[in-house]
Symmetry: C2
Subunit: 404 residues, 2 copies
């Protein structure tokens, strides 16, 4: 498997674009994105488990009932959530796009991200769609990525190439993250395209399985958004024998999908609102997957640990504390904790108690941009990883006045 360029346009038969249509005030910020497959594609999606769901999700659940789609349209600047006429607006977005593309309305996936509870006007979107469609290009992944960003500071895009049944296949994805990121069955917006041939039910199985160890192990601030959505389209243009069951090809597809999703998770975590560091908590020695995951995620979610990482403070007691209240059934007296980054590794806790260590070396390790928090539960051989970021002044600044 190899990492390649091209994002959502890397796979055969996809074009994308992003424009400014006027939902966001600043003309420099694109606010409408589009991804289109040349042919109808298998399409799977997972959504937020928040009871408050963005109106587009309700529309998508209907449109994807047949496991097929051809286009994804997404606006930023407004979440179209908690609006009395939200569903109408989302349906109108879909209808207008379908008309312009001459495809079936049911083959459109709609997404929105931004402020909750502010009416979304259809005007700017209706006016923007013709330009959006006219500008579709095989080099459009950057523009589409910009179109879905809110407080993101980095464009998140990745693609991989692999082989299935002797044919070259590709999977590529783009994502937006930043704040309100603590997915539960999905994450903020992630759009993935592939040219592999795979039946809709197997595509859904691949996605639903993979997110348990990828997007559901990611947290920026513990807030599960109302609009989280991961969509993957696979149009079959690679010409591989269609995957219709749990076979070796399915395993390869899963691995490629996982590579894309882990890469996007790391990008989302590293670009969390106000973040200066990517945190990866790697739990090993777990008795079972559930407890390993619970521990990893609890550590990544601790505000105190996140603030300590911002300050490059090797305050490992907060790691132990977070494991202790996680709800996982672990033996505290067996746990080892270490910190690792590109400058080295330092052990700070063994068998549940502190060990002497060099504060200078710890500081040097924690001053890096990517920090691994290594937890060995010494209770089995199961591993889990969770991703997050530090808690910084800028997180407070960004969220203290987001709407204005």
């Amino acid at each position: 498997m190899k990492i390649i360029e091209g994002g959502v346009c890397a796979a055969k038969g996809y074009r994308a674009n992003g424009v400014h249509c006027g939902i966001r005030k600043s003309r420099d910020k694109k606010d409408l994105a589009l991804i289109v497959s040349e042919v109808r594609a298998s399409c799977a999606a997972v959504y937020t488990t928040n009871l408050v769901k963005g109106a587009p999700i309700l529309v998508d659940q209907k449109h994807l009932a047949d496991g097929k789609a051809q286009a994804i349209i997404c606006n930023s600047g407004n979440a179209n959530t908690c609006n009395a006429n939200g569903t109408e607006i989302a349906e109108e977005m879909s209808r207008l796009l379908a008309e312009e593309l001459h495809i079936s309305n049911d083959d459109v996936v709609v997404s929105s991200t931004g402020v909750i509870g502010q009416p979304l006007e259809i005007g700017p979107i209706a006016a923007g769609i013709p330009t959006l469609v006219a500008g579709l290009s095989e080099n459009g992944t950057e523009d589409a990525t910009e179109g879905i960003m809110t407080t993101d500071t980095v464009k998140k895009t990745v693609a991989v190439e692999f082989e299935l049944g002797g044919r070259t296949c590709r999977i590529g994805g783009i994502a937006k993250g930043s704040g309100m990121i603590h997915p539960n069955m999905a994450t903020m917006l992630v759009f993935i395209t592939s040219d592999a041939a795979i039946a809709p039910d197997m595509l859904q199985k691949a996605l639903s399985g993979d997110i348990q160890s990828t997007f559901n192990m990611l947290s920026i601030d513990g807030d599960t958004s109302t609009n989280d959505t991961v969509v993957v389209m696979a149009n079959g243009l690679a010409g591989n024998p269609e995957i219709t069951r749990d076979c070796e090809d399915f395993r390869i597809f899963m691995e490629a999908l996982n590579t894309v999703n882990v890469a996007l998770c790391r990008m989302i975590a590293g670009d969390g609102e106000g973040a200066t560091k990517l945190l990866e908590c790697k739990v090993s020695g777990g008795r079972d997957l559930a407890s390993a995951r619970i521990c990893a995620k609890s550590v990544i979610c601790s505000s105190l640990l996140k603030a300590a990482m911002f300050g490059a403070d090797a305050n490992w007691g907060r790691v132990m504390c977070a494991i202790g209240y996680s709800g996982a059934d672990v033996d505290i007296t067996k746990i080892d904790v270490a910190f690792r980054s590109c400058t080295g590794t330092i052990s700070v806790c063994e068998q549940g108690a502190g060990v002497e260590f060099s504060e200078d070396k710890a500081k040097e390790i924690l001053l890096q941009k990517e920090i691994e928090i290594l937890v060995d539960l010494h209770d089995g051989d199961v591993e889990a990883t969770a991703w997050g970021c530090d808690l910084t002044y800028d997180y407070v600044k960004i969220n203290g006045d987001y709407r204005t």
Copy 2:
């Protein structure tokens, strides 16, 4: 019932003191506190549910097996948690105090708060105990309160007077809060004294019942500490007929205890690390107590909502979002949300959708020190309240470098 002065010394037969013994570096900061009852008292306690427990808690569970105690000793500056010899040190603290006071070792409650995982030396404590005991006074509540503070900026003390069986009774308490506050069965350190006569099992019943609607509804940062402890002593010196069953007097005692605990909760929340505002989420119209409490606590715990409150931003979508992911079974389309403070009340969401409101008026309301977030679920008549604080630059600053 009336609010009175005196904290833990308000009730008959209690003396207290606080000194600097040398655990904390700054000589200006007291780090050892003591509360003593003239006679053995009924004593009840609740502790953290964190699997990682401070060593003192293990000692206390043993000492309080008979429901009786006479003294509480507590150090700040070091949590005595995740230390290989933690239990020995906690036992030694207890033994030294018992010797100095000429009481039974089993009648001592030990507590520690501060950094996790740094060995606690017995030396300064052993040296400090004689001074601590010699200085015991009926006016010592302030000194004791100072002795248990860490990053607290405000002394938290309250007392009430009420009548039981024709006799005047009192309950008073002191608390420390600040960070790592998200109690589960208990909170950070709270010491309560009373002169009421009440059997140990009824005292435990009163405490365990009350914390469900008080300390367990409080969150500063979602981190459940390893050392959370609430202890209440009742020495019977008020001379009321002893409470031994669920009678009218028990109800009155519960009400007085609740008044003390709610007051301390509000003080702890308002003085959360870095906090500029006290947040109270009042949920009404709940179908049942569990769902009302889950909603209130989820709102109070949302980092995004907390940051918005810091910025006086009426971003009510984050209230809805937090209710949506709380896990409570609610009908989103029925929910009303309003903000209230001393300057007025403003409705921002009705039946799950935004309503037009004056941003200026909202700003004025949210710029106050105490903000109520009013949520009506319109699904019954059950109410619940949770307490928290805003998320600020100072929270990050304090916790980015707490150990150094």
